[in-house]
Amino acid sequence: MRHILSILLENESGALSRVAGLFSARGYNIESLTVAPTEDPSLSRMTLVTSGSDEVIEQIMKQVNKLIDVVKLVLLTESDHIERELMLVKTQARGEAREEVKRLADIFRARIIDVDAGTYTVEVTGTGQKLDAFLEAVGAANVIEVVRTGLSGIGRGDNALRV
């Protein structure tokens, strides 16, 4: 099953490679991984999407927690949470596509953030499925380039991951 880990770790050089190295060394899967400093510059927040049986996920949690640089972690998918991913898509924008992509951007509440004679660059935010759906709607023939940030997530309500 797919799971989202939220990790608070010391914002030190090498911390990211400790997490990434652990996953490759133990044969765990990483679907996506995002990391950036938090409001406290000494801490980084990492969101990692992985998959595995309950036993594997439990072992992943324990192994990540064992890393000395990891301060705290939660399994976001264990409780109510919000997922978001940002995608930048460069599309064809000639002929019919010029109208069609704009219409789709409106439907998906995406924004066209760059335009030239033959292309649009569209910014789409949402869950992974929404981004997939947008790409499908635009059609492979119209897609020139895709950049996705990987998933970020946060707990709902007063569920907070902080030190």
């Binding site: 490679s17 324990k62 064992k66 000395i68 640089d69 301060v71 030190v163």
Partner: protein, 564 residues
Amino acid sequence: MELTGAEILVRCLKEEGVKHVFGYPGGAVLNIYDTLNAQDDVDHILVRHEQGATHAADGYARATGKPGVVLVTSGPGATNAVTGIATAFMDSIPMVIITGQVPTHAIGSDAFQEVDAVGITRPCVKHNFLVKDIKDLALTMKKAFHVATTGRPGPVVVDVPKDVTTDRYAFEYPKKIEMRSYKPASKGHTGQVRKAMDMILAARKPMIYSGGGVVLDKSHEVFTEFCRLLGYPVTNTLMGLGAFPGTDPQFVGMLGMHGTYEANMGMHHCDVLIAIGARFDDRVTGNIEKFCPHAQIVHIDIDPSSIAKTVKVDVPIVGAVGPVLRQLNRMIRESERKPDEKALAEWWKQIEEWRATDCLRYDRASKRIKPQYVMEELYRVTGGKAYVTSDVGQHQMWAAQFYKFDLPNRWINSGGLGTMGFGLPAALGVKLALPDEEVVCVTGEASIIMCIQELSTALQYGLPVKVVNLNNGYMGMVRQWQEFFYQKRYAMSYMEALPDFVKLAESFGHVGMKIEKPGDVTGALEEAMAMKDRLVFMDFITDPEENVYPMIPAGAGQNEMILV
């Protein structure tokens, strides 16, 4: 007053109470060596290869419980140390390894003797640091010793660029350290401990299975007390030998691939398994699908990730062995319930039947020297009191089977990683720490060659260990597997062109002995042990085709042992 980085580093070692550093100099660490040379608090032991330094520090740590300290240079110094670091990591041995590094401005430029030591060692250390700023040096050293020695211990690498060793800064060593990201557990959860007690007291066919965690936590006394309170059969892993007296009838021997029949059958048939400071290693469990099919399992371990890693457990307890067992012992004493004596007597009867197979028997009438006999005689001649280090292979198993360890820290071997070459340098580390104790390295002619250069270190520092070389002319364990599972196709397992070990020992300034007849074994051992101030290399020419029995073949369950 401001000190140089090198001076700060040495002061840190002194503050940590470090008496001995094992190492090898080189360009990146010359400033540190210059500083070490100018003081008397910390002695430096010059090895002949960096792998030897790590194993010596490792042996030192295993025998004393204090962290072993290593100092090596950048590049090849660091890479040569990696095998020893990984060895310590697999067996959770506290060590601090200081690696030199090229100057900070040169890092990343493929400078002379530059490697990414932090990157290379990352998967085989508990933690590692690159000190880029002298301001962080003392705090980093404090953290390194703290992390290495607390919780589940392990090696910690501190990579120090050369310019950091010449920069100057005020020295202040933190008395205490708090790390928000590192807070190892100690006491167990009371509710879980109570659940464990209920399960333990309800057992009808219990087994106590303990590992290296009991030794590392220095908890053999409270562990022995726990075992005696219950009267349950006790088995130890290879790493756990000595935690419970090996000569006690309650001890059913080591378990696992070359464990005793009674220990493995006991595991297979038990209804409650009490695992303490052990990690269900594949050499212990055999085929995991067939492991302990009837048992409910209590598992006490300080490392949560060791629990339910390969085997599901019913009552997990995260905590240090000592505190948890003290909680348990108190609860058991206060409880009105007692172990079911009738069921236990039945269980012991069954275990004694298994024990009666005498699974460690061997041909005592052989005209060749049997390695098992050498081990039995070594045990007798040393009164069971020696510190025994070993290399890896058949000799290691025979030592573990036939030398009965009544006390912990006496049995020093590379259990997890299985590093050939470990035994001799480890023995030197032990002898340095405990000069009044008898230290014996049990080895084979293949393993000993891997770190033979350390005979030179032994001479320089006057470390009169005894080497028992079980020389069968083969990489014995490889040969055994080839005999059993590869239809006797002995690919590359024959040790051709062996040196004359007597002359070799003599050329290093030591005493060499060659023993070829069973009748000469005891006399040779006695003669060697009597030479208190000499390193004696005993080359025992043993039966080349002797195998280690009993054995759980790969893929089999613990109840499917091959007997002699």
